[in-house]
Symmetry: C2
Subunit: 334 residues, 2 copies
DNA sequence: TTGAAAGCGCTAACAT
DNA sequence: ATGTTAGCGCTTTCAA
């Protein structure tokens, strides 16, 4: 069966006939022990099946090299970001502590968990908490907010240029010849306001103000489906949607209603999450550069954790238009 | 700016004018402190923004009350399970340590992270590792595998009755009058073999062996989309699909090809994940009882961690047919 | 009900 | 190159 007590550093020291300090040095591969001692210690450790206890180690050294990550386990885009955060953290020699927000586990609870783990900094992906709470948190440890704008000098922000993204979307559509372009927005979601603004600005620039129209949407497939039903009463020639998840709902309802996409209506999403890339969805979208955003977030977090804050407080990553199958020139009769 | 040192239990004790022991009791909500003391301590803790250091706490008490959870961050169904695992763990007074598998972070790496954290037991959601590796792991600490069958007396298993699930799906369809029912399978995925078997058994029971046909599918929307293209060459009257994610791909391709679901083809999924429940997908499916499975997994893990293994090694949870909008009687001409 | 003291397993500062 | 001595922040005796 299993050992009832795990061997400690002392056990190894006794067995090797040396002091704990030596064992500590050897286990960390630090210089300061003779080759012979090193050999004896390693041998003893091996025989005992010794593994250092990271908690004790970190408790003593005062460092955890741990970055706390808050995310919504139901959001595909968050999953994509977490994927890249793991990569970025490993490259920087840090570990990630994940804490998910679920329908039954709210943000304060998820954050409390991270604080208990003594993370050196927090990376919050699309947090919904009021700014005041985030500010309070930032008084206690470095906080980096990803994919949401927060105006607080103590909080680092990594986000994409949402307004620019919608400029690209609208420019792409007008370039194809579309004029009746509707925006299905994200309501109060992070980034939604900027994307709305970007849409309005672009429509204005193309002198299409009269045709501009914004339909209330949201973050989920459900929200998109509902918005699409509104759409059916008076079809535009193209739609820009708050995000890919919402766009998926739009696509689904349109298709079911017999509206051909893109022949009758072109659709542009936002995020370029895994969903959009699926061959059968094949959604034209505005890609957020999750790899870069993740790298920057980890960099920022470590920077703040290790020395004083340096560099710009807000990093805005440019989005990128990814043309796939849901956008074509408008039908002649349109 | 920020405090350079996080408040400790001693700080709280000083501020509240009591001993460390009292603070310790109060923070753990243990009896033995007067109401007045309790109030003062909590107030001091709040003012200082104190959070107990879990490492120190656990180092001292020798226990972590930590359950390590391995899951695939790209799988919706895993997200649903993790959601319920959080709930179950909280009810048992345990915490969860999440470790995600990503395209860039394989299972051994994710598991190594969990081991460093000194989790008392591991809950592996749909692990892909060979049984030999899981067995080796189980020699070091309690291991519970969820949603995959593993034949090793040292490993607890919590899964749903996959074969029964397909019996239900086929019975439902034949009950509606379907005869030409095809199964799109999950290849080598966990549970796929049992679901295939269940399909064959049910078709046999209904004396439909001649019409039984299995198409290679997989776990993802992509896999479903590809399988559906095969389907188009000779439409059956109904399809049972390995899981909801895959079924989504099937639905999408069929709809785009002008095949009406369910008028022309009925579709049944598996899992009842968030996707299936979306109003616009509205997929008839076989629900896995994630709440029960999660509760059992947590129970098993704690049981093994705290005393010797007790109770049945394998817990099989019955699935449940959820009838939604993708199944109707076959078209008369079919 | 409260407090003092002794560690948990480890690392860091200081000896030698 | 090696050993000794203090803790890290907490829980756990044990006394008061």
């Amino acid at each position: 069966m299993r050992e009832d007590r795990r061997p400690t550093l002392s056990d190894v020291a006794t067995r090797a006939g040396v002091s704990k300090s030596l064992v500590s040095l050897v286990m960390r591969a630090e210089p300061g022990a003779s080759a012979e001692t090193r050999r004896r210690v390693l041998e003893a450790a091996e025989e005992l099946g010794y593994h250092p206890d990271s908690r004790a180690r970190l408790l003593r050294s005062g460092r955890t090299r741990l970055l706390g990550v808050l995310f919504d386990i139901q959001a595909q885009f968050h999953a994509d970001l977490v994927t890249d955060l793991y990569t970025a953290a490993r490259e920087s020699g840090y570990e990630l502590a994940l804490s998910a927000v679920t329908p039954d586990r709210d943000e304060p609870e998820a954050i409390a968990g991270l604080l208990q783990d003594r993370c050196e900094a927090l990376i919050l992906v699309g947090p919904q908490s009021p700014v005041a709470q985030l500010s309070r948190l930032a008084e206690r440890l470095p906080v980096v907010v990803v994919a949401r704008g927060v105006r607080d000098p103590a909080i680092d922000v990594v986000r994409n240029a949402d307004a620019d993204g919608l400029h690209m979307a609208v420019d792409h559509l007008t370039g194809l010849g579309h004029r009746r372009i509707i925006h299905i927005d994200g309501g109060r979601a992070a980034g939604a306001a900027d994307r709305r603004r970007g849409y309005r600005e672009a429509m204005h620039r193309h002198r299409l103000d009269d045709l501009a129209r914004i339909l209330p949407g949201g973050l989920t497939e459900q929200d998109g489906a509902e918005a699409a039903r509104q759409l059916l009463t008076g079809l535009p020639s193209a739609v820009t949607v708050f995000n890919d998840r919402c766009a998926t709902g739009v696509l689904d309802v349109l298709t079911r209603a017999g509206v051909e996409v893109p022949a009758e209506v072109s659709v542009v999403g936002y995020d370029d999450d895994r969903l959009a890339r699926l061959a059968h969805i094949d959604l034209t979208t505005i890609a957020q550069d999750t790899a870069t955003m993740s790298r920057l977030a980890v960099e920022k977090a470590i920077e703040r954790a290790e020395h004083a804050p340096a560099g710009r407080r807000e990093r805005v990553v440019p989005p990128r238009l990814v043309i796939r199958g849901t956008t074509v020139p408008p039908a002649p009769l349109s």
